[in-house]
């Protein structure tokens, strides 16, 4: 998957989860900038992405992602 494809997928999952189609994720997006993306919805988001892609994030990664770009990069490494 290209970086853009992963970004599109993350955007779609988060839009579905928060039911907010105005969300547009970029690599620079930080969780605090997205309305209602609280810690519970962050876990739900991680689990939904894991289920959809059939991957498991490392806990250390989940706790340290600083922005969406880091999530994208980690996913691309895992899918290689």
């Amino acid at each position: 998957m290209t970086g853009q494809e992963v970004l599109d997928l993350l955007t779609r999952v988060l839009r579905d989860l928060l039911e907010n189609d105005s969300i547009v994720l970029t690599t620079a997006t930080r969780r605090q900038e997205v309305p209602n993306w609280d810690s519970l919805m962050y876990i739900n988001f991680i689990v939904a992405v894991e289920i959809e892609l059939g991957i498991k994030f490392k806990v250390a990664d989940v706790e340290s992602f600083a922005n969406v770009g880091e999530i994208v990069a980690t996913i691309r490494t895992m899918l290689k």
């Binding site: 998957m1 494809e5 997928l9 999952v13 579905d16 989860l17 039911e19 810690s39 519970l40 876990i43 739900n44 689990v47 939904a48 289920i51 959809e52 498991k56 994030f57 806990v59 989940v62 706790e63």
Partner: protein, 631 residues
Amino acid sequence: MDQPAGQRDFRLQIRAASAETDIRARLDALAGLAQSRLGLVETIQLDRALMRDATEPIDGYTRVRLAVLSTNTIDHLLPAIRVAGLGYKLRLDVFSGSFGQYRQELLDPASPLLQFRPDLILLSLNARQTTSGVPLAATAEEVEQALARAIEELRELWHHARRTFKASVIQQSYLDVSEPLFGSYDRLVPAAPSRLIARLNDLLARAAAQENVMLLDVAQASARDGLDAWFDVARWLQGKMEIAPQAAPVYGEMVARVVAAQRGLSKKCLVLDLDNTLWGGVIGDDGLEGIVLGEGSAVGEAHLALQRYVLQLKERGVILAVCSKNDTAIAEAAFRDHPEMLLRPADIAAFVANWGDKAENLKTISERLNIGLDSLVFVDDSPAERARVRETLPMVAVPELPEDAVHYVHCLANAGYFESVSFTADDRQRAGQYAANAERQALLGTLESMDDFLRGLKMSVVYGPIKAVDLARASQLINKTNQFNPTTRRCSAEELAAIAAIPGAVTLQFRLLDRFGDNGLVSVLILRPDREQSDAMEIDTWVMSCRVFGRELEFEAMNIAVEVGCRHGVREFRADYIPTKKNGVIRDLYPSLGFARSDQEGPASGAIQWRLNLSTYIARKTNIERTGNSE
């Protein structure tokens, strides 16, 4: 990348449901969505729609205030609990206790729980605190003492919940998330972690039974589904979630079932189809000896396994009924005379076998047993019958049976229709009482709204002469059909070819399609010139598969036959009906098509002769389109 079609569609469905202006209709629509198997994201979406709605009491929905008190994080489970409740017509108001504060919340006189006034209190605890204090070297007696103290504390909390809050209590069993220490030897060491938790759950169950506390057995569920489906150590370490987020929908469903059972909303009666459900094959065609049931064939054993499970349900107090398209006498004979049948006539409280509409027959069953339609579970292998019942009687539970009969039991058992929070002496006797009171009168299903059903099936017929390639299948249908077969004449492929070659003979074959797919070659009609009267034809053979009974195909087939006859300059059809033990279902076929009884003596003994004047024939309008003529 696969397009996850489900979620996009699902949001649209939620939006459509939420757009209903009447709140009852809105809840009904959302409840309909809650019935399907939902993932994590869909559950959250549906819950959000539900939470947007007003909280006023709604007719048909039971409001229940449920407090969940826990040693773990549970916030991620609440949407699933509310959504699953909706599927059982429960509006659950859920109070989420603070993490790890369950004792304080129960015991503190200023607890916010008092204001919430819970109807039910669910205690969702993990085993760590209870088991961590027991040293590995503890003897069996020491283990018992330690666990007994833990159970004693729970009893205190239960009593307190009842006394202070007037609430009923649901206690969750302890999930065993321990890792093996010795391996297989763990079970022999009283204080090995997995052994401790197993013992703790035993004691918990015993205490719950004594105290009349309901059990939410996640330990059993995780043993069945595998611990990985329930527990994710990453989520535990990250957020102290003992039930993993992906298990939330299943967990919510389990909670809702227990609450529904406590409120008396569980199903009471299992209504069973016969052919290809309780046994393999079609008894009307295959005969008592021909149905597939019992040892010796995997399919026969699968149907037997269903019967065995159904009998166990009956012992539990579930009422059994039969709803089948069959001749009553033939269907009852199986229950009486088939050596492999486990179910016997006395097991069935209401036995309805006829050719009427099943939705109407379900109403009759509900009236006869004097239980609500919403207490019925209808098990039928036919997608068309299931769709008919779902459309007409949405309150009847209709499991989506898998195609393979070997999975019937699993499907029925895991749908949780008969969840219970008790097993009383009354339960043990109930099924018998119903059976004793049952009346076995014959039923005449009414046909109103049948038309809507048939229209909804979007049926079409493809017909044409029987060609060389069709001979084998056509003769097979003729030879295996016993019910819709007025003459029960048999005919090999060669004989069929010979009849088709008679000058002036007409052969017709019909395939019926509907929105569920192609039913295949379902009817064959053979007309040959009458021996005495040159402008008359005789219906030599007419057979139709029982799969399409009640679909109006006989009318459309006759319409077609009359048109073909007219084209051949024929003025009259003659037909024989030779009654047999199996073809009683079409006793009135010819008169219903406009044939008149002729006075002449039949050629074979017992045959009844019928005649149809083609010039006065009134074609009956049907819900079957003619899409193809393979002529």
